[in-house]
């Protein structure tokens, strides 16, 4: 246990651990303090000079990010002296800033804007012309840089030095010609590069994919867990009535800290309505019948059939439990995205297991002492089966072996494909194939267990495809023959009214 020491911040007494910096103490007390360069996940730079505080008995103002609290310190950032200094500091940052907020993608979540609303001089005092610098600088396939907007806080360079350790970014030249950049033809292409866009306090670094897509104040955000791999980084999903637009990391000190990988940020596209399977189908060589999920499940006629079950790590623990309890099989086939690099790990966040809940799947199977088999064993057994049920991956992009496996599954006399997406191979089969739309992580409530064994809850945010059903709901229909899911309390609580309807009233 570290020694606790007392100090006073803006007249509030507070106890902090020895070694705490003043800015950390401000954060702990939830007292506002201006800052650009300090970031809790990076080393201290002390370059923006905005986090000024006045310490009793000390004539000079100090920066809060690089000053350690001493016992009995009386600290304030409410004095006129501090406010004036911050105002001048801000004016200094704005000397060469282009103030092109109307066309800047950061507007609305820009720290410079926020501070300006509080401390702005509103009448610029400079008579000199602004220094013109490079705009729209291409840093690679993902990120664009505007050197005029940059306030040289060095967060991005500290990120590539300390976190990704790839060292692409640097501050080149000096004085008012200083700018962020890359060395010649070494683009910013590491697997974590887009974190620099998140931590850039202004609109100097913007994401090629997201920029000019949306004004951020029109987006809602909801907490969730990334389904891109078994690390289970904590995320915020940004969405509006048209669908999902971007994913950003949410702080979790024991899993992803402040970061996430760039691939993980792409795992919202498969949730959006376009390309989703929107109703159930029964495909045979002769015809394709569209039906409700209820009808599809009725036509399955499970009794006395020899059933095989293929599971992937995309579903929640609750869904696995419901499925396994209902089917009472002795063995389960586990479909992995790529058995060869399934165990890969880049020593930071990215894992080769591209499923959020492989641990949960294994736990459900082990609890029941079922036999776990893989797809090679399925190949041998498939001719003995009457019906194969595949709980397919939620995000097909993460399964390079998708087509090869579908061709294998199609050898079964009858096949049930449960997934948010269908596949062209399934639509002209020799035998009979049912495709049933399932929910994505954004639409259901449940538990994922990540690679480390941490249980994380996800919550339904909105329904994107009304007809999609979770595995729990499918089992409920099979069990009771009832379609009205709102009759079941446990499911009703987990259901969300359609976001579209919530906004516009029922249709």
């Amino acid at each position: 246990m570290k020694k606790m020491i007392k100090c006073t911040i803006n007249n509030y007494p507070v106890e902090v651990e020895e070694g705490t910096t003043i800015i950390q103490a401000f954060k702990k007390l939830e007292q506002e303090i201006a800052h650009y360069c300090w970031h809790p996940g990076l080393s201290i730079a002390g370059v923006c000079r905005l986090c000024m505080v006045e310490i009793e008995g000390n004539n000079k103002l100090q920066i809060a990010c690089n000053t350690v609290v001493q016992d009995g310190m009386v600290i304030t950032n409410q004095s006129q002296k501090v406010k004036d200094t911050v105002r001048w500091g801000l004016e200094f940052h704005l000397i060469n800033h282009p103030l092109d907020c109307p066309i800047c993608d950061q507007a609305g979540e820009c720290v410079l804007q926020e501070q300006y609303m509080k401390f702005g001089a509103y009448q610029p005092l400079m008579s000199e012309d602004k220094v013109k610098k490079r705009k729209v600088v291409d840093l690679g396939s993902k990120i664009v840089l505007d050197t005029e907007r940059c306030i040289l806080c060095a967060r991005c360079t500290r990120f590539t030095d300390e976190i990704s350790k790839t060292k692409e970014l640097g501050i080149f030249n000096r004085g008012d010609r200083s700018e962020i950049g890359i060395f010649k033809n070494k683009p910013l292409e590491n697997d974590y590069a887009l974190n620099t866009v998140d931590i850039c306090p202004v609109g100097a670094l913007t994401s090629k994919k997201f920029r000019f897509q949306q004004r951020v104040w029109y987006l809602k955000k909801a907490p969730s867990v990334c389904t891109g791999c078994s690390t289970g980084c904590n995320i915020d999903v940004y969405y509006n009535e048209e669908g999902l637009w971007r994913i950003r990391p949410r702080h979790n000190s024991s899993i992803n800290q402040y970061w996430m990988c760039d691939k993980g940020r792409e795992t919202f596209k498969h949730v959006n309505p376009s390309g989703r399977l929107k109703s159930s189908f029964r495909h045979t060589a002769e015809q394709t019948e569209k039906m409700t999920t209820f009808q599809a499940l009725q036509t399955l006629k499970l009794d006395s059939k020899k059933i095989g079950l293929v599971l992937t790590g995309s579903y929640t623990c609750e869904e696995y439990d419901a499925f396994l309890d209902f089917f009472q099989l002795h063995s389960i086939y586990h479909w992995k995205n790529n058995p060869k690099n399934f165990e890969d790990y880049d020593n930071f966040l990215i894992r080769g297991d591209k499923n959020p809940n492989t641990k949960g799947l294994l736990e459900s199977i082990n609890k029941r002492q079922l036999k776990l088999e893989d797809c090679t064993q399925l190949e041998q057994n498939i001719s003995h089966l009457d019906l194969l049920i595949v709980c397919a991956p939620e995000n097909h992009k993460l399964y390079p072996c998708l087509e090869e496996k579908i061709n294998l599954f199609l050898k079964s006399k009858e096949l049930v494909w449960i997934s948010p997406h269908s596949h062209t191979l399934l639509q002209k089969p020799i035998n009979t194939v049912w495709t049933i739309p399932s929910k994505t992580y954004f639409e259901k409530t449940g538990t994922f267990i990540n690679h480390h064994g941490t249980r994380q809850k996800i919550k339904a945010v909105a329904s994107i495809v009304d007809s999609a059903r979770s595995l729990e709901e499918i089992i409920h229909i099979l069990k009771t023959g009832q379609t009205d899911l709102t009759q079941i309390a446990s499911i009703r609580d987990k259901m969300k009214t359609n976001y579209f309807m919530e906004q516009k009233g029922s249709l």
Binding site: K167, G170, F172, R174, I182, F183, K184
Partner: protein, 151 residues
Amino acid sequence: MFKLSPEGIEFVKKEMVRYETKLSAVIPCLYRVQDENEGWISPECVAYLSRLMDLGESEIYEVLTFYTMFNQKPVKPLHVQVCCNVSCAMQGSRKILEELKKQNNSNVTLSAVECLGSCDTAPVLQINREPYMEKVSLEQITKTLQERTSS
């Protein structure tokens, strides 16, 4: 392909362990590269040094672009570096530079550099790596350059 001489490589290896961090060795190593590459440092040199020192190219490039004593382009035999920082500027150094530019001497490369650390004798300039010319006047430097280009 640029490569340091065996002695140059030896020098870099020694510098790298001389300080607390090898980042501190970048300046002496850049000097060495510049000396062995006809007075300037090409992008290729940066890439070479980054491999040799196991540092990021951007880390070396940051130092290279910060200091005006490193040349990012080839220079003529006489490299005249005129200090244009506050003290010297107040003593007319920027004027001197303007005038020198007009002379268009084909053996001379002119650069405006940051404070040479001799503000008390402003205006100051330096030819190549020679001792400073202090309290210098336009006439003095013009004469020096004429003499040295004709010899």
